[in-house]
Assembly symmetry: C2
């Protein structure tokens, strides 16, 4: 193929978009807002997001729970938009994540959070959007214009921006150092070959993606992209949870993509068990470990590439999947 | 078929199990613990659960968020068991839900919640289990012995027990009245025919289940049971979220089960849109509305029956799905 898709170009821009977060202006914002979070000492975090952005929020959920020890809840936007519940969110932070910031139900939920007393904060690529307007504080994802329907660089910058906030909130020098190294590491990761995965994605119509802890949001993101780009029925499960029921279907060559390092606690055992019952388990390209909150994101970069290539080989246009729009205005 | 499975007998016991919660002893416990919750005024709730019990927790998440307005977070057991995070849960309630109460990672998470200052509470069918021992307060699900691997009456009693607590916590007479009517309504619901759904479940190998708000946990439960009982690759999505990506696969006769009433805000629009792009949308048996927190549970009863029958027609043993055990001892 000679034509380059917008999606492929945007995947290639992931390292540059990540590097933009190191500039003085976004760093000043992350530092100020992160330190304010440290002073507030939130008792809980509520995330306000849909689709890919909700998966970015799941990545942040694990990072915040593991680092700050406070529970993070993804509240369904319908709680405000359909059911009109009154929320009580004293010393709770409401974190909106949205590329476009234009979904009406997210705006309604963010307003309900603010009325309920939450500190409201939005990570968005559209700082003049309605969702940005509904939050007291807005942070620019700095991903640059994104045209492909399938979000990629705005997804990675959503996760990175949230982690920058957390790094300043917690005064975590190790996480800050890892985040400074992230652009170069993402560039290295993009060069990894994911040929066996791409091959599988060109021919399968079903896929289960497994991961654990900080990798779960990435597994959900991969499953979503496999559906929207390749038309594959894909679902994501915790590599522990998968043994509680979903494993019943994982036989007779059913393809399973295992994210994470097989050396992680329990993952190799799960892979062995699934292979033993007949599943075909593929592993994601191995990356050089950087930080447990970032390693799943490094693994995602070459997987995005495999998904884009497989979509083209399947005769689909990765920039314009059927039935989907870049912005989904849900009620 | 003349042989009756344990699962079928346990489905038939759902109304009797629900009625047992109306007895004086469990009511005294629900009232005492629920009123204590009202006095504490929790700032957030953390749920500790896996598999079907985690889906029951999702049902309770929506009910608590809509009724009490506090965020509910399902914390991954690995947060404690693998990653050893210290949690800060002042004025937070940790709610364990487990049929057997024997999964080591749930016990570790419940202990971490207690160390973090949470009020700990477990709903379990095994009041002398390790998970019960890790919580300050234990409430018996009163489901009676459950032998089939696929949980049914313990699932419905998990949801009902949590709703009883909420009804006393909030002093909600309307919810209490609905809960008192639930056993009879569940009996009515079991008599509903779900023949078109059963037919579809006997022949499909893929299924997407959609629902919204209080129905989402039920959708996840139906998808899980379709996998473990019938070997169908099934996934559950919010009927709003489904338009953000998963809808790309819903064409060419892809079967979709829509839970809830088509009259719900947005559901009929979603159904129309999915049918317009070629999905085959089935609706669950219509139940007489009782309460928005209970209606999805009423709809589940005949769907359980359809899943059990379809498993048998597919030549599977609903009582002993391959590769699965009644208790999964995850680390």
């Amino acid at each position: 193929m000679t034509a380059t898709t917008m999606m492929r170009r945007e995947i290639d821009e992931i390292p540059a978009a990540a590097a933009r977060l190191l500039d003085a202006a976004p760093q000043d914002r992350f530092r100020a807002v992160g330190r304010a979070l440290g002073r507030i000492g939130p008792r809980a975090v509520v995330t306000v997001a849909r689709g890919s952005s909700d998966h970015a929020a799941t990545c942040l959920k694990y990072a915040i729970e593991l680092s700050a020890g406070v529970p993070v809840s993804s509240v369904g936007p319908s709680v405000a938009s359909i059911y009109g519940a009154a929320l009580h969110l004293d010393r709770v932070v409401a974190l909106g994540v949205s590329q476009s910031g234009r979904s009406g139900d997210l705006v309604a939920l963010m307003r309900a959070c603010r009325q309920g007393g939450a500190q409201t904060l939005t990570l968005t690529n559209s700082v003049d959007s309605p969702l940005a307007g509904a939050a007291a504080t807005v942070l620019d994802l700095c991903a640059g214009p994104e045209h492909a329907v399938a979000a990629t660089k705005s997804f990675t910058n959503s996760v990175l921006s949230g982690l920058w906030l957390l790094a300043y909130w917690r005064g975590d020098d190790g996480l800050q150092a890892a985040l400074r190294a992230a652009p170069d590491r993402l560039q290295d990761a993009l060069a990894l070959t994911a040929a066996p995965l791409r091959e599988e994605l060109t021919r399968t119509d079903r896929l289960v993606v497994i991961a654990r802890g900080p990798g779960l949001g990435i597994a959900a993101e991969v499953a979503l992209k496999a559906m929207e780009l390749c038309g594959i029925h894909a679902s994501a499960h915790s590599s522990a949870e998968v043994l509680h029921g979903p494993s019943a279907i994982l036989r007779d060559g059913f393809p399973v993509l295992a994210l994470g390092e097989p050396a992680e606690a329990g993952l190799q055992d799960t892979i062995d068990r699934l292979e033993g019952q007949g599943a075909r388990v593929l592993t994601a390209p191995a990356v050089t470990p950087l930080h447990r909150f970032l390693d799943p994101l490094l693994q995602l970069a070459p997987v995005y590439g495999a998904l884009e290539a497989a979509a083209r080989i399947r005769g689909r246009n990765p920039d314009r999947p059927e039935f989907l729009a870049k912005e989904t205005l849900t009620v």
